[in-house]
């Protein structure tokens, strides 16, 4: 399940929905990404997230399908926000429900690593020096790369 929205999300409520009426679920792992107030040594007052309507949903669907093909998991939920966000705001939620923790942990990390390098989202930061587009990090590429080994 993939959702792109400007509104905030409630991780507890989303997890409750995922596990409801599903006695096969024995483990749920989740990740939440937040807006920080500093990046590359500059204060960040605002973060604007842009996406590619249509392609972003497809890319996330493919990542979820890939996770389900690689691990024995039951359900994956990805919620990613777009628009203007501020420090402490939630950006992204990934929840993986499975029978056991090992697969749930691994799949959750995989989905985030692939999301950061393959899903079309772009961040623009507002700092005291003006606005700037966030540059991609080689460490993110390396994190995604390890799943191909």
């Amino acid at each position: 399940m993939v959702r792109i929205q400007s509104e905030d999300f409630d991780a507890g409520a989303e997890i409750a929905i995922l596990r409801r009426n599903n006695p096969a679920v024995g483990a749920i792992s989740s990740f939440i990404g937040l807006v920080r107030d500093v990046n590359s040594g500059e204060r960040v007052s605002e973060l604007t997230l842009e996406h590619y309507p249509g392609m972003t949903e497809k890319a996330l669907d493919e990542i979820v399908d890939e996770a389900k093909a690689r691990w024995d998991i039951i359900e994956v939920l990805v919620i990613h926000r777009v628009g203007v966000l501020r420090p402490t705001d939630q950006i992204v939620l990934v929840v993986v429900a499975g029978a056991h923790r090992g697969e749930a942990f691994a799949a959750c990390e995989f989905v985030m690593d692939y999301l950061k390098t393959k899903a079309p989202f772009w961040k623009k930061e507002q700092t005291p020096a003006g606005s700037r587009w966030v540059e991609s990090r080689s460490s993110d590429d390396a994190a995604a790369e390890r799943w191909t080994r």
Partner: protein, 104 residues
């Protein structure tokens, strides 16, 4: 009776010329640099691939020339799938140019 070739050409000439176009989308820095999020682009005969389209757009000069330079890490999607420069582009396609992604 079969229509002579010359008549057929005449028939076609009456129909308004249908230009073969692609939709081009720009995101993030590229959208700002070019001052547009999208455009309907008449595909020249000489442009056969997404890499060729990128080169053609560079001939507009200014920010087109610098932002789409081979040294820039521009990504290309063809019909909403990541595409290599050699991917063939056809009329009706949706081509998107954007910088490396930074979500999450």
């Amino acid at each position: 009776m079969a229509m002579a070739d010359s008549d057929l050409l005449h028939e076609r000439a009456k129909v308004p010329a249908r230009v073969d176009t692609v939709t081009i989308l720009y995101f993030a820095q590229l959208k700002e640099a070019f001052g547009r999020a999208s455009e309907c682009f008449a595909l020249p005969q000489s442009v056969e691939t997404v890499g060729g389209l990128r080169e053609y757009l560079r001939t507009r000069g200014g920010s087109w020339e610098t932002e789409l330079a081979p040294t820039k890490p521009v990504r290309v999607a063809l019909n909403q799938e990541m595409a290599a420069p050699a991917a063939r582009v056809s009329p009706g396609d949706e081509v998107a140019f954007f910088p490396p992604v930074t979500g999450g």
